[in-house]
């Protein structure tokens, strides 16, 4: 199992299109991927569930922890990190 803590810098946080993109990206991998909002110190949820990701309430400047476990765990973590670090292609 690998883990990374990543700050979210885009304007709307993990909501609307960014949330959908996050879940869509996670769903491309066979690994079990979990994510939690470190800033609000909530629970880990399934990163492939749009509803659960929304319940994290990740806003601009929150930090998230992503855990990935499985055959393509590294690739999954890299892809999600790139997505967040590129601000989901928004401002």
């Amino acid at each position: 199992m690998i883990e990374a803590t990543i700050p979210v810098r885009n304007e709307v946080g993990l909501h609307a299109r960014p949330a959908a993109l996050f879940v869509k990206t996670a769903a491309k991998f066979s690994s079990t991927i979990k994510v939690k909002n470190l800033t609000t110190n909530g629970n880990f949820v399934d990163a492939k569930s749009i509803i659960m990701v929304l319940t994290l309430g990740v806003m601009k400047d929150h930090e998230v922890v992503i855990q990935s476990e499985g055959a393509d765990a590294d690739a999954a973590l890299d892809a999600l990190r790139a997505l967040i670090e590129n601000n989901f292609g928004e401002a």
């Binding site: 909501h15 879940v23 749009i50 509803i51 319940t55 309430g57 989901f88 401002a91």
Partner: protein
């Protein structure tokens, strides 16, 4: 019965005098009975979910057809929620401890929706409604009930409801729905937005007593412009509203006729009125509103919806579809116009202090020639048999333009060598949106077949103001004398070189600006499709003599406010 007035939030324009249909969603009663095996119960879940997927796709298609992709996207979100692993996983957990699938779905929906609605941020909380909408749909299908109680509307009525979900609004039959009024909801709720797109009069947020005050067949007047609802109106009120409605309808009729005709001044000078669009469905919208072409096809949507750039074939399909809707009318395709303010995930964007002065638009395309070539190939191939034009954004220098044109020529040679069919005579022009380009039109004309003025960016760069910044956005004045001088200079220089010039910024559709621009000799006005009928109507009322006078006067003023007041006064006289 005496008439009674109520006031809600005006959500969509239009006056209706008619009878009420009260829409009360069927209460879904969950039967108490013994559960089958886990496999049986989950089997029913999968069947119902598949059925729901088909229904939602139907709503998506219908709304996309009637209102465009942007309004339909909510049902994409519903699809995503429908296949959410949390929904299935939690339902299974309940089934495993002995609940029926109906009980399980009801419980899970409630839990997930409460989780969302309990959140502090309204943006997140609003998604609870979508979860409930989706959960209710699955449950309704499990119970074998029809899609919606709205099917019970049999004569043209004003729909009155506690609230309407996006699914409800999408299911309203346009032939039987005169308008709608809801007790809940705000001006930005999805139903309100959809009503405006569909041109359906609507009032929202009427308050909790709405369904106490009206019942089926109550006779009412609703005014979507003011948010007023009058129950049991007396004859005088009805007459007054019928008059207002008749005036409004006749103006709309005038606009409808104007929209169908070619744009022409009262002196007989022909200009082109075109539409700005950013997706396939808006092309239909443009045609409906009388567009004589597409003056600006934004292609960014293709690049921002995925984690990789769009393939040549995908682009080809979409351009082709738009060209086909427009037939032989010209379509100007603007090549990729993005920057660090809206970076796609796959481009290596540098840290930028000023993304609007940074790596964007044509500058990116020249640095990423393979991505640029893919787009050009797709456009040139799709252009066969159509009037396509290519336009580069953000050009500020002749070398940039020469370089971009060389790439176009390379692409044409490649296509020819590969014996792939393409259109060889697609005109290539630029957007004039930097002061540099506006001042250099005579020089750029060497390599540009036409010009189109982008007033939003031109204003931003000329006034050195970010309109998203409330502290300074007051200086964002497209009718500022400085901007106006650059526009006039662009039109004059372009005509001196024998090139036509259009405008695809917001200014082109503003009634205060149209007389001045006509006076300057602008050849093409491209705008939001909905602004076209009014623009054509106005152009038809103006003579060449008048607009020359107006343009001359406008150039003599020192501030945007003086210019605007002057034109407003003349337009008021005209009406």
């Amino acid at each position: 019965m005496a008439e009674k007035n109520f006031k809600g939030i005006p959500a969509s324009d239009g006056i209706v005098v008619g009878q009420v249909f009260c829409y009360i969603p069927v209460k879904l009663e969950i039967p108490v009975c013994a559960a089958g095996t886990v496999d049986e119960e989950m089997g029913r879940f999968y069947t119902a979910r598949e059925h729901a997927r088909v229904e939602i796709q139907g709503l998506y298609d219908m709304v996309e057809n009637r209102a465009g992709k942007e309004e339909a996207v909510i049902f994409r979100a519903h699809q995503e929620m429908l296949s959410d692993p949390a929904l299935e996983g939690k339902a299974r957990e309940y089934v495993e401890i002995g609940l029926t699938i109906e009980q399980a779905v009801a419980k899970v929906t409630d839990e997930l929706a409460s989780m969302l609605s309990g959140m502090d941020d309204e943006l997140f909380a609003a998604r609870a409604l979508d979860v409930r909408d989706v959960g209710r749909r699955i449950l309704r299908i499990l119970l074998g009930l029809p899609d919606t109680a709205l099917a019970a509307v049999v004569k043209p009525s004003i729909i009155v409801a506690e609230d309407l979900t996006p699914s409800d609004t999408a299911s309203l039959d346009p032939k039987l729905t005169l308008g709608f009024i809801t007790a809940q909801g705000g001006i930005t709720s999805h139903s309100a937005i959809l009503a405006r797109t569909l041109g359906l009069p609507a009032i929202v947020g009427m308050g909790n007593d709405l369904l106490v005050n009206v019942s089926n067949d109550t006779f009412i007047v609703m005014d979507g412009r003011t948010g007023e609802m009058i129950i049991n109106p007396d004859l005088e009120t009805v007459t007054r509203y019928k008059q207002i409605k008749a005036q409004r309808d006749s103006h709309l009729q005038v606009l409808k006729i104007a929209a169908k005709k070619d744009a022409c001044t009262a002196s007989g000078r022909r200009v082109e009125v075109a539409a700005n669009i950013g997706e396939v469905s808006s092309a239909h919208d443009a045609m409906e509103h009388g567009a004589e072409g597409i003056g600006l096809l934004r292609t960014e949507f293709l690049y921002l919806e995925d984690t990789q750039p769009p393939s040549e074939d995908k682009q080809y399909q979409i351009y082709r579809e738009i060209f086909e809707v427009m037939g032989t009318r010209p379509v100007i395709v603007r090549t990729l116009d993005i920057g660090g303010d809206k970076p796609p995930a796959y481009l290596p964007f540098p840290e930028e202090m000023n993304p609007f002065l940074g790596w964007r638009a044509i500058r990116i395309c020249l640095d990423e020639p393979e991505m640029f070539k893919t787009q050009l190939r797709a456009i040139l191939r799709a252009a066969v048999g159509h009037q396509a034009r290519i336009m580069f954004p953000m050009v500020s220098d002749l070398d940039e333009l020469r370089h971009a044109r060389e790439i176009v020529e390379t692409v044409k040679r490649d296509l020819e060598l590969a014996s792939i069919e393409f259109s060889a005579d697609v005109p290539v022009g630029i957007m004039v949106e930097t002061p540099a380009a506006a001042l250099l039109v005579d020089v750029l004309a060497e390599a540009s077949d036409f010009f189109s003025i982008g007033t939003n960016d031109l204003t931003q760069y000329t006034m050195a103001v970010d309109r998203g910044n409330a502290k300074v956005s007051g200086l964002f004045q497209p009718l500022h004398p400085a901007v106006l001088r650059l526009i006039k200079q662009t039109i004059d220089a372009s005509h001196a070189k024998g090139k036509w010039v259009g405008m695809c910024g917001e200014l082109a559709g503003m009634t205060n600006a149209i007389p001045i621009l006509l006076g300057f000799g602008l050849d093409e006005f491209s705008m939001n499709p909905r602004a076209i009928p009014e623009a054509k109507h106005l152009i038809g009322k103006l003579t060449d003599e008048m607009v020359h006078e107006i343009a001359g006067q406008a150039m003599s003023f020192g501030t945007a406010a003086e210019i605007e007041n002057y034109v407003k006064a003349i337009l008021a006289e005209l009406a």
